[in-house]
């Protein structure tokens, strides 16, 4: 067991984690990136399809700039967002983000005459090299910037617990490199959680394999305050087949260089969504699209598991394929493109909620513990926002690091964690494999905590999960007890985090007694701005939890009604 000392441990190697590490490094503060996957090759950032143009960049009009802000606050976050933070973020994206990326070498797609290619419409976006694949060169660039800066990385290494000082502040991380099977204790003056937006807690989920809500679970166990854990976003048009393509999206977004976009048909072949007609801002319409689907499901013309279709049969192939990767799915299956409409299904996508942070420093409620990017509870979606957090957290830590103690090695905590992990690796009950338990848990979430929720299903899900925790978890069986590349062992570590976080999601879902955007309660169908234009704040108390409600300020945009049927609300 090796003890590593650094100034700041950054958990996560996506847009937020990499940018935090790069900025800390610039400030002369030594970061260490701990990444459960591979830096720049796992996590949600990889999936960025395009980059939204903020403010007045690239010839955006005043109206475009306003639309982008409105889209973020209303359609993306249903007003559950710190609007001042959003404003700062928009200004930063315009002034700093694009130039920084381009200077470092990111290629924003041009045409042959040298114009940056944009999608037309009320909100415009650009692509890194090609639309649908922008996250790949974007994150590859970050990976190389991290290498160039000489920033230390621990990859395929899972953070299994936070290490604490005697006063409860966070002073390090315990981790396992699951390729070598070696333990590491990282002692740091501050820990930044940058574990991302998605958690793979449902049978069908976007995001990458390693996601299991680790960041939320670690923060919760450390005593950090969480908020809006019920606010789950959904993709409504991922491929229904094959199973591993559950995040292969038939993108509904506006296409670069075209006035058209994909459309969706119900089981009767009737068009029920075409964002150019059906979305007020005609952009990234995931929640608007979800509401359209819910109506189809209720009319018996679609199911959340499939039975409805999406594709580009309204477009010319060249229109789709000049600047996007959207045709690749159809081509790889040998299907006629663009004539073929593929069967699609819903996948759980980003969580809007997460760790409660001070948005000027990204500090959590626990000293020494910070959060950046999607794992925070202050916003949802977009790689630019996650990147901005990377800058803010680096500056926040930079300002506060002098006040943070260099931790002493907490030997008893380290020994206890070694014992816990050793025990998990030798799980020899007569029950299911840990991977099976993960699937069981995801099935409960899919069936009872899916798109449409109600109190009785949610309570029943809590009972099911309690059964998994009490009856199945102690009897887990691991076939291979070796240390090297033992994914069963990793699954056993993951499933405990997932159980904890699923429960928090369900409790939070029970608490929010309204419907809002993608959060749909059959027993509370109204969007209730009078009572619930508020953060659903979750605090640890003793061995239990309690909720508080914290209203949002509305300095820039306001909903303009007090209560209305959520499915009739445009956002």
């Amino acid at each position: 067991m090796q003890v590593v000392t650094t100034d700041v441990a950054v958990i996560g190697g996506g847009a937020a984690g990499c940018y935090a590490a790069l900025n800390l490094n610039k400030l002369g503060i030594k970061p260490l990136i701990i990444c459960k996957g591979l830096v720049g090759k796992s996590g949600a950032s990889l999936f960025a399809g395009n980059l939204v143009i903020s403010g007045r960049a690239l010839g955006n009009s005043e109206e475009h700039a306003r639309n982008t802000a409105e889209f973020l606050i209303k359609y993306h976050n249903q007003f559950l967002i710190d609007q001042r933070w959003a404003q700062r973020c928009g200004q930063w994206v315009e002034k700093v983000y694009y130039p920084e990326l381009e200077e470092a070498g990111l290629y924003f797609r041009r045409d042959d005459s040298g114009e940056v290619v944009t999608s037309p419409g009320k909100i415009r976006s650009i692509a890194a090299n090609v639309q649908g694949n922008s996250g790949v060169p974007f994150m590859d660039l970050r990976r190389k910037q991290v290498i160039k800066a000489g920033i230390a990385r621990m990859e395929e290494t899972v953070a299994t617990s936070l290490l604490h000082n005697a006063d409860g502040s966070v002073g390090g991380v315990f981790c396992l490199n699951y390729i070598t099977g070696e333990y590491r204790a990282v002692i740091a003056r501050a820990v930044i959680l940058a574990t991302g937006y998605s958690d793979r807690l449902h049978t069908r989920s976007t995001g990458t394999r390693e996601m299991s809500a680790d960041g939320i679970a670690l923060a919760w166990r450390a005593g950090a305050t969480l908020l809006n854990m019920e606010m789950q976003w959904w993709h409504t048009n991922d491929m229904a087949h094959p199973p591993s393509w559950q995040r292969m999206q038939i993108y509904p977004n506006p296409m670069l260089g075209s006035e058209k976009s994909a459309r969706m048909l119900n089981s009767a072949g009737e068009e029920f969504f075409n964002q150019q007609k059906d979305d007020p801002l005609a952009f990234g319409p995931y929640t608007v699209q979800l509401k359209a689907l819910v109506k189809q499901v209720r009319a018996g013309k679609a199911r959340y598991e499939g039975g409805y279709y999406a594709g580009f049969d309204n477009c010319d192939p060249a229109e789709v394929e000049t600047y996007t990767t959207y045709g690749k799915t159809f081509r790889q299956l040998g299907l006629p493109f663009p004539a073929y409409m593929a069967e699609t299904a819903v996948s759980s996508h980003y969580r809007q909620g997460g760790i409660d942070v001070d948005t000027t420093t990204m500090r959590s409620s626990i000293p020494g513990l910070y959060a950046a990017g999607g794992v925070g509870g202050h916003s949802n979606g977009l790689i630019g926002l996650a990147t901005y957090d990377g800058q803010v957290v680096a500056e926040g830590v930079g300002r506060e690091i002098a006040t943070l103690k260099a931790a002493s090695v907490p030997q008893p905590q380290i020994e206890a964690e070694c014992r816990r992990l050793d025990r998990l690796r030798s799980s020899s009950g007569d029950g299911p494999a840990p991977g099976r338990l993960k699937e069981d848990l995801r099935a409960v979430m899919w069936e009872k905590v899916g798109v449409e929720k109600n109190a009785s299903d949610l309570r029943s899900a809590l009972e099911d999960i309690e059964r998994i925790r009490a009856d199945l978890l102690p009897g887990m069986k691991i076939r291979n007890t070796g240390k090297s590349v033992n994914y069963e062992w990793l699954d056993a570590i993951d499933v405990i985090n997932m159980i904890d976080v699923c429960e928090l999601v369900i409790h939070s879902s029970l608490e929010r007694k309204e419907s809002r955007g993608p959060f749909i309660r059959r027993d509370f169908p109204l969007t209730d701005n009078e009572n619930w234009l508020a953060a659903n704040v979750l605090k640890k108390s003793g061995n239990g939890l309690r909720f508080e409600r914290r209203p949002y300020d509305l300095p820039l945009f306001a909903p303009g009604f007090s209560s209305r049927d959520n499915l009739e609300v445009a956002w």
Binding site: Y107, V130, V485
Partner: protein, 346 residues
Amino acid sequence: MTSISPADPSVPVLSPVDGRWSGQAEHDSLAARNCRLTPGEWLTVKVRRSEVPAGGDVYQAFQVPYQKWMRVLDALNWIAENAAADLAFRWFCGSKMCGTCAVRMNGREVLACWEAVEPNMVIEPLRNLPVIRDLVVDRSRYEDKVASLEPWIERREPYGEFPEPLTHKQMKDASKALDCISCMCCYSACPVIGLGNLTDFAGPAPLVQLGQTALDPRNDPEKVRRSLALTGIFDCVSCYKCEEVCPAHIPIVSRVIEPLKAKAAQLVPEMARHSFALRGIVARRGRVDPGELILRVQGLRALGNLRRILRLFARGKINPIKTILGIKTGAAEAAMRLLGNRAGRP
């Protein structure tokens, strides 16, 4: 649940498909490969394991039920969930973006999340990288090489403002290289990398990574020169194996390695000595004269390997008389016309 074995006669035995040729015959189109099985039919999947039980086979066989449009990754996931929870294979995204799930299927490199299953499959780890366990390989040899090439932009002029002047025409080759997901399919398929330490060839994947910035007009040529000098790029034999297996359909040889070779010949001419010599000989003689090639490339050093020279002579590979007399073929005139004014360049 350990063994799923539908060993009854109702399970059809499907003819094996040689992965090296899949997709090339007319009846074997992508459309055909995605609909030749019906859901519930059994696939036979043999997976190379790294820990072999006593008396067992290094290839462990599994029967896997087909699901609609099933990918190789789905078959591996099914095996892990139902038959061998301890099977080690790497993947993250499941949608051809992270590039970590590449394996060899029936002798050909494929991205597991992207490739259709075959009725009979043998799944093995990639070649040319050390196997850690089962299908999981150690990528560090590649990562270290890429890092040593410093594949990033260094500017001669300070960056102006966004958006800087740049056209897609200027970026057309770099743009192809930017589709790379560093999945290592090409690295595994490359026969020159397969020679191990006999050459100092960086390999196709590191060259594509380098091409992303070395073929970018914004990069400082001096920086590109330093990087190219470390690539051993002229050891590439242009066999196109890398292009054949690339799941991102990058024209690796024609749009990345060849343009990089041209840059190397210009920026680091000593690397291209063999190519210059070969081209010059063909231009003058209308044919390859191996004797002259050896002399021009190795000079007097060739005499240090006299036994080899004699062996080549005995086999008729070299003919000193023809070499010394400068014998030309009838094609010389045409060769000079085609290559003459560029004979100094590869």
